[in-house]
Symmetry: C2
Subunit: 445 residues, 2 copies
């Protein structure tokens, strides 16, 4: 990989990562320097709006001496509601101290456990994909002026993967009054909503893999955790008090050509891990995915589905003694099942022969992927509308290349077939087979 | 061009047009057959919601004998409010008769004048572009089950144009109560809003041209007219009574490489035609375009702008004796100015030499075009959310091919430059020059 600067446009993204890493380090260093002059009497810095999928990592930079004193105060005095908001430490500040003092265990706050979970799986998945591709991912750590950041691992123009991204991000932020109202409307059990501001935390992992070979399917996975705390109740911030929290996530497969064995294997792996937790989960979340990944204007699904769930809170696992623990373990199982669900498929398909026409069909299907992500994906549209969001990480999900033809004979919308069924040759049948399953989602297990 | 069916996927769109034309004719014929059994006592067929840019053409199929009788009734009795809604002819039915009885002139209803205007210019523009490309457009006439239709002229994989579409569409439809409320909120002078339903009419021309050569800019143009009438006041439908109406439109240029001469010529041509109507128009509508064609998440404009205007009604041309006439003439001038604004540019650029790197840069810029159209263009998102809309005509604006790289060194969002300014070679300077003007719109005349 040439790092010679300013030489060519052919693979400029690769070079930019190098730069990003430097830029990121610099801004983190700068933040540490500037924040060390902060005193406890300063009001908390205003933070960003929540990003449903584009969690940014708040690498909070505050002198440990100052933060230590604050934390000590919280723990000593149980009547935290009396402490003026201005003096309350943010979730981020509390977590920064906790991480430095104790290793993350079952007893740590869920925020830190989720952060550890997604980062461990990011490393594991990236390593496994590198073994398949033979080319290394670029690890792009970034932070933002407003606070927040993440780790984007990207492989572009690989041997097997045209574009693959595995991102984690952690956001500490502050919800505004309208955002709180909205959440209260969506969540009956929402507590602590009668405030003007609410600290929140979000952690997530999001991956999209677009292989080069049109026989190999695109795959997407996302697991995320969201939590709020009342700024007048900083004990909350240590995980002791009742909080608002929920989990979301899932995984889904988007083939350009349908191999029933692949679809069955993918769904079976998902069902197996779901069944370990609740016999209803697979059915419920498979149906949710079929609804969510729909492109209404095409009357097609994005792919052959998988599972999708959102806003799972204490009411979503009523039979569990500890619903939060149960749902965390569910997400952990989901992440654990990813490599077994996808690796056998990519290994089987990555070196299959294909024609230029089949590559072109894949490009058209990629166009539909773009349509779904830009028009309907909630995380993408929310992310793009969030000021200061990291656009490059949100749009990493888009394929390297895509194509749109007017009124395509096979895939055109509202265009009737131009040939009789019996006139179809084998190639066309394959494309039609895919469309059929995209139009009418099927049961695979 | 091979028309052998089911043989290959290489140019399937071309074959599909052949089919579309047949399908369209068939459905029109069918509608004529089924509608001829309709009696005046039947309630009007429910029609679609308004489409801001995706106007569909309602080729209303009703026996002329029946329609003639209805029209006669309207004209004979001035107290039309007494006629039950069920017996009122639709705008479409009245217009169908008028078109058959009299040639379109200055004294015809604006609906018919606008339909004639956009179709005449469609033919003229298509003809001129065919001279440049050497390849013919495919003319795709279509209609819809719900009523409506249009003419899409498309040239794909041409010698000069990678994808070019010139569409006209005419919609006769019915606004629902919520849509009426929304319009009343947007238009202070909205009349006849105290009804549950309101017939509407929309006519428009929309063109997008993506040339192959990265030195040749993409161009977009759109002119449209919208009108409503109270179904309890069918005289309205003949253009006699006070109506709600407005015009919208504009034209803008999207280069991948900036040639200042081209930008100046394009804007100068627009300014010249605007100045003929009102010395303020160019300034106002140039600024409107700069605002409208913004991609906020990229902090870039789609291109170097042009003019854009919407909702121009009687209040928008207060100095004119007949504001509707004045605004119609303004749109006519806009259409007239299109070929002079674009032809000199495409002729100069279409055969310029370019490198593969420059082609790749064009592909990245095409990706941004897709982002704007799918995320922000009001016509596109409204169209895609309109049940029964003709998706292929709406998405014709998307380029044939596009590309997304993660954190591109030059175009990446939130990614700082990786090279010092003085290290830039000439190629990079050209890309940066474009970005600069996209980030900060400039005055060109």
């Amino acid at each position: 990989m040439s790092l010679k600067r300013g030489a060519t446009l052919v693979a400029p993204a690769i070079r930019s990562f190098q730069h990003c890493r430097c830029a990121s380090r610099t801004s983190v260093q700068q933040r540490w320097l500037s924040a060390s002059s902060k005193t406890p009497s300063e009001p908390p810095r205003p933070q960003e709006a929540p990003a449903q999928k584009n969690y940014a990592y708040a690498q909070v930079a505050i002198g440990i001496a100052v933060l230590g004193a604050l934390t000590y105060n919280f723990l000593r005095d149980p009547i935290q509601a009396e402490i003026p908001v201005q003096n309350a430490a943010t979730l981020a500040e509390v977590d920064e101290v906790t991480k430095k003092r104790t290793p993350i265990s079952r007893h740590s706050p869920m925020r830190l456990r989720m952060e550890k979970l997604v980062q461990e799986h990011q490393n594991k998945i990236v390593f496994a994909l590198e073994q398949i591709d033979g080319k290394k991912f670029i690890k792009d750590e970034w932070s933002r002026k407003q606070g927040g950041g993440g780790i984007s691992c990207v492989l572009q123009d690989g041997n097997v993967f045209e574009k693959a991204g595995v991102n984690t991000s952690i956001v500490y932020g502050e919800l505004s009054r309208p955002a709180i109202e909205k959440m209260r409307a969506d969540h009956k059990s929402f507590v602590g909503a009668d405030v003007d501001k609410l600290n929140f935390f979000a952690a997530g992992i999001s991956l999209v893999i677009h292989p080069s070979n049109p026989m190999a399917p695109t795959v997407h996975l996302n697991y995320r955790y969201f939590e709020t705390s009342d700024p007048r109740d900083p004990v909350n911030a240590t995980g002791q008090a009742k909080q608002n929290w929920w989990f979301g996530g899932g995984a889904d497969l988007t083939p350009s050509y349908l191999f029933e064995d692949d679809a069955k294997h993918f769904h079976k792996t998902l069902k197996n891990f779901c069944d370990k937790h609740d016999k209803d989960y697979y059915r419920l979340y498979k149906n949710w995915a079929d609804k969510y990944f729909r492109i209404p204007h095409r009357n097609e699904s994005r792919g052959i589905g998988g599972i999708f769930f959102d806003d799972l809170d204490a009411n979503s696992a009523p039979s569990a003694k500890n619903p939060q623990e149960e749902l965390f373990q569910f997400c952990a199982s989901g992440l654990e099942s990813f490599l077994p669900s996808y690796l056998p498929i990519i290994k089987k398909r990555k070196d299959m022969p294909f024609t230029p026409q089949q590559k072109e069909w894949q490009q058209l299907r990629r166009g539909r992927y773009v349509e779904f992500n830009l028009c309907y994906d909630r995380g993408t549209s929310f992310g793009l509308r969030t000021p200061g969001a990291r656009v490059e990480s949100i749009l990493m999900s888009l394929p390297l290349t895509a194509r749109w033809e007017y009124a395509h004979a096979i895939a055109g919308t509202g265009v009737e077939p131009i040939v009789d069924e019996d006139e179809l040759d084998a190639t066309h049948q394959k494309e039609r087979e895919l469309l059929e399953v995209l139009r009418t989602p099927r049961e695979w297990v």
